[in-house]
Every structure is written in structure tokens, then in C-alpha cells.
Amino acid sequence: MTNGVLVHLDDVRKTYHSGEMEVRAVRGVTLEIRQGEFVALMGASGSGKSTLMNVLGCLDRPSAGRYLLDGADVSGLDRDQLADIRNSKIGFVFQGFNLLPRTSARENVELPLLYGHHRLTNAQLREKADAVLASVGLQGREDHHPSQLSGGQQQRVAIARALINQPEVLLADEPTGNLDSRTSVDIMGVFQQLNDNGITIIMVTHEPDIAMYARRNVVMRDGLVQSDRAVTQRFDAKVEAQKLTDAEEPEPAQK
């Protein structure tokens, strides 16, 4: 019924009022993202990409225009309805991971389930969380607290949390911003694998080489889409990881 179109933005605008000043952060964006795409949303700071991301993530409402998510108009929903959409249809991955401190990986991953409409028993919560953690390669770390995990592992926990409600779309906001290049490639590997399994991913990044892991790059400038093109020479995380390993070869591998 949606012809595979998951996200449909129709002349979306977002204007902020700060005192007398009017800031037009997004000035009319029309965009379609189909099921199974992996889109990198790029642009300099102030280009409006973060604002667009907030709208896409249903954290914010557009001032004008229409936003259809999975065929349903979400531009006019209230705070609580948006929260329900975020819970059931969107998975978030943040730059700073945003895990609850002093809380086990499992309990962090369970969090969206607690706000969902299905009442689950503790055993069901645990089972689901452990399964998703295993799918991002964190088997055996379920009881670790964030402080006991590396940056890459923390981001994997965050990805598991984003996936637990089987969302329509995974929204990643600078997912590699706090990670070294080796770990960044790891995370891109996770994303590519998820995407190969059919999950739609929209990723905000300002790093061109990270954007090369996506299938499509949308570049924003001054609140408008400047370019929108498919990635021709796409990076494969497996290959890139191997390159990094080869470069380190002279040193005896420690890992």
C-alpha cells in the first residue's frame, strides 16, 4: 500500500522562533526513503541536518509540510502519540550512546520494551534482550555495566536497544562520532549487516568516509537538499577492516 516507501517528506519546513529572531532551519525538503535503504544524511553544522533528523525521528514536528511514516501522517500528532511512534517504529542510536549508567547491558536493552504496549514478564524481557544482544555480538556481556564495556561495545548495546522493538527504521545520529577509526569500521559492519537483513537505516554523519558505507548520500545545505545520489564506490566494512589489520601487520597482533 505504501509501494515500499517508508519515509515520505513533502515540502517539510521547520522554523524556530528565538525571541524576535526567526531561524528557518529546514526550508522545504521533499524526500522519499524506501524500505531497505541505507541513507547517509550529510552536511556542515547549521545545514539543517540535525533538525531534519529530529523531525524524521518524531522528536519534533515540522512547522509546515507533511511527513508520512510507513504511510501514516505523523506531522500532526501530539507529544504522547509521537512517543508511541518512536517506541514502535523508530530505533535511535546516538553519538554519545546514551546508555543508562550503572545499569546492565540487558536492562539498557529492555528499556524500550518497558514503555511499549505489550506487557512482558521479566523472563520474556530477558529472553528478548539477550537475543538482540547476541545478534550484535555481545553474547556473554549481558550483565556488564556500560563502564565495563569499550566504546564500540557500548554502541552495540545502543544498537541492540534500538532494534529490540523491531522498528521500521534505525536512526543513527553521528554513531561513530565518539569512536576511533577501527571501531567505527566495526560499527559500520554491524549497520551493513543489519541493512543486508532488510533493516532501513538513516544515518547522520559529517564524515565523508563513513557516509561511503551507506547506499545513498543526501547532502543538506542551508536547510535544503543540495545533492541526493547513490553511492557508487561503496565501502565494505569487512574489506576495510582487513585493510586496517594488514596495515598493522608488522606489529605482532595483540588481539
Binding site: 546516538f94 543508562l100 536492562e107 518497558l114 514503555y115 511499549g116 504496549h117
Partner: protein
């Protein structure tokens, strides 16, 4: 939604900050504990006073002779000798609802037996007196109506008097000399202890009032008349009828003052318990202040917690928490702290007041109602002081909260 899940979330959050949770609850523990202990001690004191007053007898009306003025010197109540034996008889005869009447004369005298002597109070009473005071004998028998009518030289003595005169030997049947008149001790009274004024009630000799008037006190008038009414609801009516009867008998015209005074035991009790009520109130108020301070502690910590956990709140909202869920979570955290603190405080308060009464020998009385009130109050403190921080958390904008550093 999902109230159970919110509980789970709130408890997980409290568990994450164990030390802080315990310290915050400590404020409430101390507050509730103090309230329970202080009210317990206050109520204990009140119960003790009430028990002492009850030992005066139930539903008792006291009628005192009037004062007299002689050469400008006023004698105080009982000095004028306006009450006659006939007045007591008339009350017995004419006022309905009365069960016991005792004519009372009081004097102080040296008493002696063998080589021991002692100075004590001599009460002349009717045979009904011991019923009015609900005063049992530990040994022997009371004097009888026949003893009163015949003005026999018999008496019963208090426990203190018995010890002072007869030591550990049996007093019943012994002779007691009062003003060189030999009396036979027919019985020894059980111990009543100190009165509310600190007078030893057991340091006493009680004999028929007829004998007392003739042999000890002299005179023909009564100091006072003790009247016991059968039913508390008849007390006020009987009191008024006694006043009317005595005014009529004493020929007091309307507008003139009574030449006697009527008090009932309830008035005396009210005056005494009013004092302990004030004390209990003061203690509870002081303890209540510490409960309020504990509540402010909760509010303070919750406000710090909301600020510190802004990103957490943003994350929760991003994954689907409604404002209401956040509000409930923080309210549950606050109420859990205060009511768990309240529960522990109840234990601390009960143990504390028991300890104080064991060490200091103060009576303490903890009523279930004071426990329930203290617990509900602690929960209410949590809601009251937790609401503002919780509202603040729920009103956060998810985008700003997520970016909060």
C-alpha cells in the same frame, strides 16, 4: 499504561544510587521515628495521669464546704463548716442516680502503737468510701455501716502507715492509739501510690466519719461530701440537683453566692490531661519539623537527580516514554524513598520509645493509629516534595534533554 513497568523502572533507578537513596530515606526514618517515639512517650504520660485520676473513683462529685472570713482572714474551702451530716443524708435521699455517698472529715494527728509512732492524715468517711475509690483491702475487712452508726473505734490503714507503725508484722486486729484513744485496725488497704500532686495516698488512716468527728477532729460539720453517680450521663444533672438542693437547704436566696463548692472528677481530669496534651503536642510538633526537613531533603535530592539525569530522561523519551511515565517514575522514586523510610522509621520509633521507657522508666504508649498516621504522612511527604521535581522532569523537551551535557 504500564504502571508495573514504571515501578520496575523507578526501583532500578533507586538501586543504581544505593547510598544516596539510603541517606535520603534516613531523613524520613529519623523524622517518622521521632514522631512515633515522642507521641508514644506523650501518650504514655497522659495514660499514666488518666490512670491516677481514675483511681480517685469514677463519676465522682466532690462538694466542699464554703470558706469563712474571720477577722479578715479567709479559711479556704472547707473552713466554714457549712456542710452538715443532714446535707449528706438529703443528697442520699433526694438526688436520683446516686449510688454512693461518703461524708468526709479530715485531720492530721500523731498515731502510735507499741513503741512506734507516726504523724499522718486521718480521714473520716462512710463505709461506702472504699467503693467510691475502688480501693481494695490487702488484708482484713473494712469497717461497716454499723460501725459508722455506732461510731465504733475501728479503722483501716494505708500500706505506708502499716509499714511505719507495724513493720512487717500483721496489722489486722492490732490496737492503734490516736489522741490516746485506742482504735482497732480492721484492715490494711492495697497500695495506690502517689497522687498526681505527688502525695503518698497510702500514708493514711480511714475511720468512720462519726468516730472521727467525736474522737479525733471534733466539730459537727463536714469538710466535704463525696458523691458517686452510677452513670456518667447523669453526672451533670446530679451535680445541678445537688447545687439546687443545698441552696434550698442553706436558705440561699437567688443572686447570692453558694456557701459550698461543687466539682466533678471530670473537671479535675480535664485540667490534668490538658497539661499532658500540651506536652504531647509540643513533642509531636518538634518531631514533625524533622519530618518536614526530611521531606525537603527528598525534594533536594530529587531536583539534583532530575538535573543529573537529564540525558537519561531524554533517552527514555526518545525510546517512547510519555511525559506521564517520567512523572510517575520520579514520583514513585520519591514516594518509595519516603514510605520505605517511613516503615523503617516506625520500627526505629517503636524500638526507640521502648528503649527510652526501659532506661528512663517513662511510660510509653504507641497506638496503632499513630503508626498509621505517621506512615501515611511520610507517604504524603514523598508525594508533596516529589511532585515538583517530577513535574520538572516530565516537562523536559526530549531534543534538549538528549543533547544536555
Amino acid at each position: 499504561m504500564r504502571f508495573g513497568a514504571t515501578f520496575k523502572i523507578a526501583f532500578r533507578a533507586l538501586r543504581r544510587n544505593k547510598l544516596r537513596s539510603v541517606l535520603t530515606a534516613l531523613g524520613i526514618i529519623i523524622g517518622v521515628g521521632a514522631v512515633i517515639a515522642m507521641v508514644g512517650i506523650g501518650n504514655g504520660a497522659k495514660a499514666q495521669v488518666e490512670a491516677q485520676i481514675a483511681s480517685l473513683g469514677e463519676n465522682v462529685i466532690l462538694i466542699f464546704s464554703g470558706s469563712t472570713t474571720s477577722s479578715g482572714i479567709r479559711t479556704g474551702w472547707g473552713g466554714a463548716g457549712t456542710l452538715k451530716i443532714e446535707d449528706a443524708d438529703a443528697i442520699r435521699r433526694e438526688v436520683p442516680g446516686i449510688v454512693n455517698v461518703s461524708e468526709e472529715v479530715v485531720s492530721n494527728s500523731q498515731i502510735a502503737s507499741g513503741n512506734q509512732n507516726w504523724f499522718t492524715r486521718i480521714y473520716g468517711e462512710s463505709a461506702e468510701y472504699l467503693d467510691i475509690r475502688q480501693w481494695a483491702l490487702s488484708d482484713g475487712a473494712p469497717f461497716t455501716d454499723q460501725d459508722v452508726r455506732s461510731a465504733n473505734k475501728v479503722c483501716v490503714i494505708g500500706a505506708t502507715t502499716a509499714t511505719q507503725i507495724f513493720g512487717s508484722s500483721d496489722a489486722v486486729g492490732q490496737a492503734l492509739r490516736i489522741k490516746n484513744v485506742p482504735f482497732t485496725v480492721t484492715g490494711v488497704l492495697t497500695r495506690k501510690g502517689l497522687s498526681t500532686q505527688g502525695v503518698d495516698q497510702d500514708d493514711v488512716v480511714i475511720m468512720p466519719f462519726t468516730t472521727a468527728m467525736k474522737r479525733v477532729a471534733g466539730g459537727t460539720t463536714l469538710r466535704n461530701i463525696n458523691v458517686q453517680v452510677g452513670n456518667a450521663k447523669d453526672l451533670a444533672l446530679a451535680q445541678q440537683q445537688i447545687i439546687d438542693l443545698l441552696r434550698q437547704r442553706h436558705n440561699i436566696r437567688a443572686g447570692r453566692d453558694d456557701d459550698f463548692t461543687v466539682r466533678n472528677q471530670q473537671e479535675i481530669a480535664d485540667a490534668q490531661t490538658a497539661a499532658t496534651d500540651v506536652m504531647t503536642g509540643l513533642l509531636a510538633a518538634i518531631a514533625g519539623v524533622s519530618l518536614i526537613v526530611g521531606g525537603i531533603g527528598i525534594m533536594n535530592i530529587m531536583l539534583v537527580s532530575v538535573t543529573e539525569r537529564t540525558r537519561e530522561i531524554g533517552t527514555r523519551m526518545a525510546v517512547g516514554a510519555h511525559g506521564r511515565d517520567i512523572l510517575t517514575q520520579f514520583l514513585i522514586e520519591a514516594v518509595s524513598l519516603s514510605s520505605i523510610g517511613g516503615l523503617i522509621g516506625i520500627i526505629v520509633g517503636v524500638v526507640g520509645s521502648k528503649t527510652i521507657s526501659a532506661v528512663k522508666h517513662w511510660p510509653s504508649l504507641i497506638s496503632p493509629s499513630s503508626i498509621i498516621v505517621a506512615f501515611l504522612f511520610s507517604a504524603a511527604v514523598g508525594i508533596f516534595f516529589g511532585f515538583y521535581p517530577a513535574r520538572k522532569a516530565a516537562a523536559l523537551d526530549p531534543i534538549e534533554a538528549l543533547r544536555y551535557e
